[in-house]
């Protein structure tokens, strides 16, 4: 952790060896609409795992040259699959977390918003 505006709530190396930080100021801003971001256990647990050991990585549908989307499969219970999704801005060095949350499907794999897959652990890992 460091002080001031650049205070990080997470500072980690991703699956490709790139440094990724999550600015505390961004976490606070996003936490109003993303309840998971109020939970320290989630940030140091699933969110960190999603960056370090993602199952899937896609280009962002809207900003493919600027952002990547990391998915970590948390569990599958009956028909429900739960993921941790982390959006990362790769224009900064170190990379920066834009937001994170826990969807039950992969939006980037939907027919209407198909994105390019960058990494698939089952294939590349």
């Amino acid at each position: 952790m460091n002080d001031g505006v650049d205070k990080f709530c997470l500072d980690i190396i991703d699956y490709r060896g790139k440094r990724v930080v999550f600015l505390e100021v961004i976490r606070l801003k996003k936490a109003q609409k993303r309840p998971e971001l109020r939970n320290e256990e989630f940030i140091n647990g699933q969110l960190a795992k999603a960056i370090k050991y993602p199952d899937l990585v896609y280009e962002d549908f809207e900003r493919p040259n600027e952002r990547l989307v990391y998915y970590y499969r948390e569990y599958r219970k009956g028909n429900e699959t739960r993921y941790t999704k982390v959006v990362i801005n790769i224009k900064y060095i170190p990379y920066r977390v834009v937001t994170a949350y826990r969807p039950d499907r992969i939006k980037e794999d939907c027919p209407k918003s198909k994105s390019k897959i960058i990494y698939d652990k089952s294939r590349d890992g």
């Binding site: 109003q32 609409k33 309840p35 949350y101 969807p103 939006k107």
Partner: protein
């Protein structure tokens, strides 16, 4: 959750949103659109309804909000009728996050947008294949 239960909840969205004082929030940075309380409660979990939108439900399956990812480049692109209103109400703002309260009676566009939005969500939910 079975589809009938989800559709029933979404059909009751308008009344519930009014009672709970929900607001529209457009996060330009993420291109995500939220319709819900200013702060989504801690116990809320996301469930997708279709490719376009998801809902936040509480542990007791109470509706806690609606979320549309890739809103500007996906949802609005697929729903032409939103384009003009969306530009006027949200996109013209300079702020990265635009919060609009539907109770704001000064801007009649907001009421029109709200009615159209709620009607569209119900139609989408009725036509959706809900898996979970």
């Amino acid at each position: 959750m079975i589809k009938a239960e989800m559709v029933k909840k979404i059909k009751g969205l308008s009344e519930y949103a009014k009672k709970e004082g929900w607001v529209f929030t457009f996060d330009k940075d993420e291109s995500t659109f939220f319709y819900g309380p200013r702060t989504i409660p801690d116990d809320a979990k996301l469930f997708s309804v279709n490719d376009e939108f998801s809902v936040y439900l509480s542990a007791q399956h109470q509706l806690r909000g609606v979320v549309l990812e890739y809103y500007a480049c996906n949802f609005v692109e697929h729903h032409e009728e939103f384009k003009g209103l969306f530009e006027k109400i949200f996109k013209s703002h300079k702020d990265e996050e635009v919060v609009v309260d539907p109770k704001n009676k000064k801007n009649s566009d907001i009421g029109v947008f709200q009615a159209l939005f709620e009607r569209t969500l119900i139609a989408e939910a009725v036509g959706a294949k809900i898996h979970s």
